[in-house]
């Protein structure tokens, strides 16, 4: 039963991928390529490329991609549902307790110490993406002379518009995609 296999494979992916999308990739590889042999390694690397190029969480993207390639629309539904069932149950429980106890002063003290960490984590994600955007490299491999001026310009203008006019995030992201592609096309770089 292919669908049942896929369902259990993705329940495990959902249950054990702790710590964000990239943690899920080796798990999916293990389940789909190594254990069940449902895909070749080459197909799997295509999957990662596509999952990274498209919006949405990587594990949902890969669940959909695997499901579609192996079993069509029913596969998409089975894999995605399998992937989110564990986190759905766990987070619902956590949410319940959080809203029950969050006003307790002791809980407030503990939560208070998590907030600076979360700010740092979000900042770190932002810095990584900025480096990828400006240099197409991680911070360790950045070469200053490789800076991409179009992206730098877009970043500065976008940040200015956000700070000054409180523009919506979606309009900024889509706008920067359109404007940047136009600039490169006009420069004859595409």
């Amino acid at each position: 039963m292919l669908l049942l296999k896929l369902f259990f494979a993705f329940i495990q992916v959902g249950m054990f991928s702790v710590g964000g999308g990239y943690a899920a990739i080796p798990l999916i590889q293990e389940q789909i390529v190594n254990i069940y042999g449902l895909m070749t390694l080459e197909e799997f690397s295509d999957l990662i490329t596509v999952a990274e190029m498209t919006p949405g969480p990587i594990s949902i993207n890969s669940a959909t991609f695997v499901g579609m390639r192996l079993a069509g629309i029913p596969g998409v539904l089975i894999c995605s549902i399998g992937c989110i069932i564990p986190s759905f149950c766990i987070c619902l429980t956590l949410a319940h307790f959080y809203y029950k106890y969050r006003t307790v002063s002791g809980v407030q003290v503990v939560l208070g110490s998590l907030r600076p960490a979360v700010v740092a984590l979000i900042g770190s994600a932002g810095a990584s993406i900025l480096m990828l955007g400006l240099f197409q490299a991680e911070i360790q491999n950045v070469v200053l002379s490789n800076i991409r001026l179009v992206e730098l310009g877009i970043f500065v203008v976008a940040l200015f518009i956000l700070r000054k006019f409180k523009a919506s995030a979606i309009s900024i992201i889509l706008g920067s995609g359109v404007v940047g592609t136009l600039i490169y096309a006009l420069m004859g770089a595409i």
Binding site: P55, C91, R102
Partner: protein, 191 residues
């Protein structure tokens, strides 16, 4: 009752739009959610959004789905969770289903490659905007402990590559120690 349905619709619509436009990892969508639910809709307060992020990071599964479950639960109970999760997973499901049928063409299209590259600059700007606001509020607490934790945590994750889980659990430990000290001082003060 009618009001609740309109809230569910707004919840679904917001999650759908955010998910459809989120390139990059889970923290990108958290920044977008913060902008949408805290700054635009004013459904959550800022501390709450940070707590939710910490919880989603410590639970297994995709971060955006986890965050949708909790925010949905907060707005409209279990039904809200279901609505929010549906909104979050539908866009990638639709987009990938279509792309998986002709991903060769998609992968080799130069316009798509350039658009995705320049969009990163826009995404980075959105995250920086959110982080500036958040960092300001941490600094406003005027607690040296919190400000130091923020700076050290940033260096640890960004420059040293320490995983987010370790950061969260270390800070949880510091928080518990902080709580113990606070309680001890209080006890001493009373006695």
């Amino acid at each position: 009752m009618k009001k609740d349905y309109s809230k569910l619709w707004t919840l679904f619509k917001s999650m759908f739009m955010l998910s459809a436009c989120t390139f990059g990892g889970g923290f990108v969508i958290v920044s977008l959610m913060k902008k949408k639910f805290v700054e635009e809709l004013k459904w959550l307060d800022e501390d709450e959004m940070l707590d939710v992020t910490a919880i989603t990071q410590s639970a297994p599964g995709p971060l955006p789905v986890n965050a949708s479950v909790i925010i949905g639960y907060r707005m409209a109970g279990v039904l809200g969770s279901l609505t929010a999760v549906l909104g979050t997973i539908l866009p990638p499901m639709i987009i990938i289903s279509i792309i998986s049928l002709f991903y060769e063409q998609f992968r080799s299209n130069p316009y798509i490659a350039v658009a995705l590259q320049v969009m990163r600059a826009g995404v980075a700007a959105v995250i920086f905007d959110v982080v500036i606001n958040l960092a300001k509020n941490v600094i406003k607490t005027k607690r040296v402990l919190y400000i130091a934790m923020m700076i050290i945590a940033f260096i640890a994750t960004y420059l040293l590559g320490v995983s987010a889980m370790i950061i969260i659990f270390t800070c949880l430990g510091i928080g518990l120690a902080d709580l113990a000290v606070t309680l001890y001082k209080k006890k001493k003060g009373v006695a």
